[in-house]
């Protein structure tokens, strides 16, 4: 229900979004403007969106010592489409995610019986319509947003347009999955200065895009607690930088064995410190035949340790919110 106070609060929120998100001043031709900013300005600009208190609970459910979220960014061709790229062969590389990658990933998740979270770009779900029903029928799978079409919000640079795209994406997923998404990952793994305030306004409980810690934390907006839980990611725990096909990305370490050594070492650290492990994979990359076995083996390794809580990102976010008294 929208009452008068709600409208006022909404207007205030919009105004805050606009006010907070002013980009810092620049002098044309000077590409090192920050050296002239005052301490107060530096703090203000760096503090539009920043990390607040740690939210790792004293203990995870049932006394588990670490929470593990297997997350998948399901973008396939969405970003190509957002950029208007109709190159047929390039699009087929994304189609691989739907046609071959996702079934292979789901086979592993089903057989290992572990939950997972899929951040799905709405257009990816639209062009390969068989995917969302496959995800929706599994009670162990959560679906979150990845923008309307894995667009780059920094390039959009328009709070209203970004809000419109997010709303449209959330509506699409809600209808197709039968559940309103509570979590978001920034499309293109990017957040604009507006995104977090838009997520808060839209009632999202958590985001999983930022990288300030490797444990859950509360997001601050202009230095004030937002109530949004951040389940941070890491470029080191993502198959994209290392395992993208060389033609299309950095492909810095195209050895799944060495990449998964890092994934496993990082898990060992999370387990030792008793915090959180968020792995970010892409079905069109990890679903290739030479790679899927390593995901399988990693899950087996993690399951071999006592007291590991495999959960969806949403379950983890709800748990830390409740433990921290965020309502």
């Amino acid at each position: 229900m929208i009452n008068r106070a709600g409208v006022v609060a909404g207007l205030a929120a919009t105004w805050i979004v606009a006010a907070a998100a002013q980009p810092p001043p620049r002098t044309p031709g000077d590409n090192q403007p920050g050296r002239k900013w005052s301490e107060a300005q530096l703090k203000q600009f760096a503090g539009v969106v920043s990390a607040g208190r740690k939210l790792t609970p004293r203990s995870w459910p049932n006394g588990a010592r670490v929470a593990v979220a297997l997350t998948f960014s399901l973008n396939n061709t969405a970003n190509d489409l957002a950029r208007g790229d109709s190159a047929v062969v390039q699009l087929s590389g994304g189609e691989f995610g739907a046609a071959a990658g996702l079934p292979r990933v789901l086979e592993v998740l089903d057989r290992q019986n572990v939950p997972a979270t899929f951040f799905v770009a709405a257009t990816a779900a639209m062009v390969d319509a068989q995917m969302l029903p496959e995800l929706a029928r599994r009670s162990t799978i959560e679906v979150g947003t990845l923008g309307w079409s894995d667009e780059n919000p920094l390039q959009i640079n328009d709070a209203a347009e970004e809000e419109r795209l997010l709303g449209r994406a959330a509506d699409y997923l809600t209808k197709a999955v039968g559940k309103k998404p509570i979590g978001a990952r920034g499309p293109s793994s990017v957040l604009s200065l507006h995104t977090m305030a838009i997520l808060k306004k839209a009632g999202f409980l958590y985001d999983s895009t930022m990288m300030a810690m490797d444990e859950p934390y509360e997001v601050l907006l202009d230095g004030r607690p937002s109530g949004i839980v951040e389940l941070p990611v890491s470029r080191l725990l993502d198959d994209q930088p290392t395992l993208t096909a060389p033609r299309f990305g950095p492909s810095a370490l195209p050895s799944p064995e060495l990449v998964f050594e890092t994934f496993r070492d990082d898990f060992d650290g999370a387990y030792q410190e008793g915090t959180l492990y968020v792995l970010t994979l892409h079905p069109h990359l990890i679903g290739m035949r030479s790679r899927i076995q390593y995901l399988d083996a990693l899950i087996t390794y993690i399951k071999s340790k006592p007291n590991v809580w495999f959960a969806t990102a949403g379950e983890i976010a709800r748990y830390v919110r409740q433990q921290a008294g965020i309502s």
């Binding site: 980009p23 920050g34 539009v48 300030a212």
Partner: protein, 322 residues
């Protein structure tokens, strides 16, 4: 060179007129091809390695000095460039909020000293980080620019001096002690930098790469008395270990670091390792740093010290031997 981006036609014109008049270096991608012997020598010798300063023996009869150095750049690089977008800011925060505490815990476990080259703005952006670094009393804080600026791009001696001066003031304010050493951001110096470090009366610098042992720095052939503790891009985590860098396998990079240390140990000189808390402080990286520390500690005669301690020692040992 990139500093003189001008069209090719102009390059040819300049090269022709310059070879005739021999006054101004021609602009263009390879102006040095037209320089005279004197011009070549003047450019190459402006800042140059002087005599070696490795002492006959390190303190306590140690055979090698090891300096673990960290550059907590945090958000400074992005902010200097005017980028305050949330993901980039969060990656910078990782260094201060997560990387540094984890590195400090590791150094505490082994009771090791380290040198932190800190962009001055980071001291007020993350005061808790500074408190944590100062707590053990073992670590040194030294200069790393005002906000990780690029002095070569500024190419402005007055602006560079303003930034160096206010960085020194800010570090002194934050630590209670005037910094004695410098590492230039991105290991980039302008042609003015070394003279300004001399003017600031610094004991040492750690940005040059002419040797892998301590040496004196010459400016235009004259000894500065500044001790150089040289670095190297292959003893730095930044080119290798970020996810899209050239070899993001900590195990393989650890092997390079160990191999390099072995030769430093055999030759009895200096092992200077450069790391970044937002990289080596990651869970999958820090375990290999620990492995390297254990390896070095397993050898007899290894002196772990701050850069300042090393610089002071070599300066004392070399006094009067000029």
């Amino acid at each position: 060179m990139r500093r003189y981006p001008v069209g090719m036609g102009l390059v040819l014109l300049c090269a022709l007129s310059w070879s005739a008049s021999a006054q101004q270096p021609p602009a263009g991608p390879q102006p040095g091809l037209a320089w005279t012997d004197e011009q070549l020598t003047k450019v190459a010798h402006h800042v140059r390695a002087g005599r070696k300063l490795t002492p006959k023996s390190w303190p306590g009869g140690a055979r090698v000095a090891v300096c673990l150095s960290f550059d907590p750049d945090n958000q400074s690089i992005a902010l200097n460039r005017g980028n305050n977008t949330p993901i980039t800011m969060s990656e910078g925060e990782y260094g201060a909020l997560t990387g540094i505490p984890r590195i400090l815990r590791l150094l505490d476990r082994y009771n090791l000293p380290a040198t932190f080259f800190i962009p001055a703005t980071s001291t007020f952006m993350h005061p808790a980080m500074m408190e944590a670094i100062k707590k053990s009393g073992r670590h040194e804080v030294a200069l790393h620019g005002w906000i990780h600026e690029d002095p070569m791009a500024l190419n402005d001696p007055e602006e560079e001096w303003r930034l160096i001066s206010q960085a020194i003031t800010q570090l002194e304010k934050s630590t209670g002690r005037k910094p004695t050493g410098n590492r230039n951001p991105s290991w980039t110096m302008s042609v003015y930098t070394m003279s300004q470090l001399k003017k600031a009366d610094l004991l040492y610098d750690s940005s040059l790469q002419a040797m892998d042992q301590p040496h004196d720095v010459l400016i235009d052939g004259q000894s500065t008395g500044i001790v150089e503790l040289p670095v190297n891009w292959i003893l730095d985590d930044a080119p290798f270990l970020p996810a899209n860098a050239s070899l993001p396998s900590p195990r393989l990079i650890l092997k390079t670091f160990k191999d390099d240390f072995d030769v430093a140990y055999r030759e009895g000189t200096l092992f200077m390792l450069t790391m970044h808390p937002h990289i080596s402080g990651q869970r999958s990286r820090v375990k290999y740093l620990e492995e390297l520390i254990e390896y070095m500690k397993s050898k007899p005669g290894v002196w772990f010290a701050t850069a300042e301690e090393i610089a002071r020692y070599v300066k004392t040992q070399s006094a009067g031997t000029q």
